[in-house]
Symmetry: C2
Subunit: 194 residues, 2 copies
């Protein structure tokens, strides 16, 4: 059987998926983990800490993808590299957006999360920064236009992936891979006629 | 004094801002509006209907901006037209994202909202479609590259604005107008060297 802490994090992930963040109380999480609330609080000080552990430990799809991208400067096509990252980003956001969005509906939870992020230096802006670094490196070796703003380019691509995951919760959409291909192609060519 | 229905919608907006969507119960909303819950239910069948009224009636910044944009085909600069829309979009998303995000944390609320959207034909994808239509019209008259995908371009710009509003809830960011300028400039020029 998994160690208690892992069991609690896994149970929390399950409860969030089933009941939503709003109803994912420590009581429900303890019940799903088959432990007491007292034991739960031996491993985590607050509910926010459990949610952060779910985000960091159960939904790790994005960090490997941004690290892989950083190792690809000057290799393959930029289109291929960006498409792979965008695919991972949409998958990651689809899995995490209920958790991330749900926090916005609860100011006290949001505040606790802001403080944890400020203390850790981490947060949802970090992958955008890593994507911008990759684009800046490609720019340095001449594969990206000197006119382009790498931070803006990263914000456009990540933003589209994030918004896509949000929309998917509310309306029916076409397949992701078609979108990813067109997002990257349009970002590379730009709108101004050549 | 405002008619009861307006007072309820205004009270709901206030309660959502103060307590978050999670704690914005009909009991709290009725108390803030100075009416009984019974009276509240004479005007709205469900809490979802009140939230939808808040979205549609109290946060109307985006529709006028997309309509203005549609009237600007072939006029001014594309950069100027897109910057104005992006500015309105960020402002709109900043005001609405707690409400929109909060719904993702509550599957029953989200489901009610999905059904209302499906019945109305409206939803958060509509402004993206209107932006895509504007870009397609500019493409038709030769001001946008024939290679560009208007739907992808609209998804990139709106997505960046939406993600920005989300990040602003969690981490400190620079000024919006600088970002908007760079987003539009990068979308127009593209990343591929000319």
């Amino acid at each position: 059987m998994a160690p208690t802490r892992d069991r609690i994090v896994g149970a929390a992930e399950h409860v969030i998926q089933e009941l939503g963040l709003v109803r994912a109380t420590t009581k429900e999480i303890a019940r799903a983990a088959g432990c007491s609330e007292a034991l739960l609080y031996k491993h985590f000080r607050t509910k926010e800490e459990i949610f952060l552990a779910v985000l960091l430990e159960r939904m790790p799809a994005l960090r490997p993808a941004t690290l892989r991208l950083g190792a690809r400067v000057g290799q393959g096509t930029i289109a291929g590299n960006l498409e792979e990252l965008a695919g991972s980003a949409i998958e990651f956001f689809r899995r995490t957006i209920s958790l991330a969005g749900g926090m916005l509906g609860d100011p006290s939870l949001l505040n606790g999360f802001r403080q944890m992020l400020a203390a850790s230096g981490g947060g949802p802006h970090v992958p955008v920064t890593l994507l911008a670094s990759y684009i800046r490196e490609e720019q340095r070796i001449g594969r990206v236009s000197q006119d382009a703003d790498p931070d803006a380019a990263a914000a456009l691509l990540f933003g589209a992936c994030f918004h896509r995951a949000f929309l998917a919760n509310l309306v029916e959409l076409g397949p992701d891979d078609v979108l990813v291909h067109e997002l990257v192609r349009t970002l590379l060519t730009g709108l101004t006629p050549r």
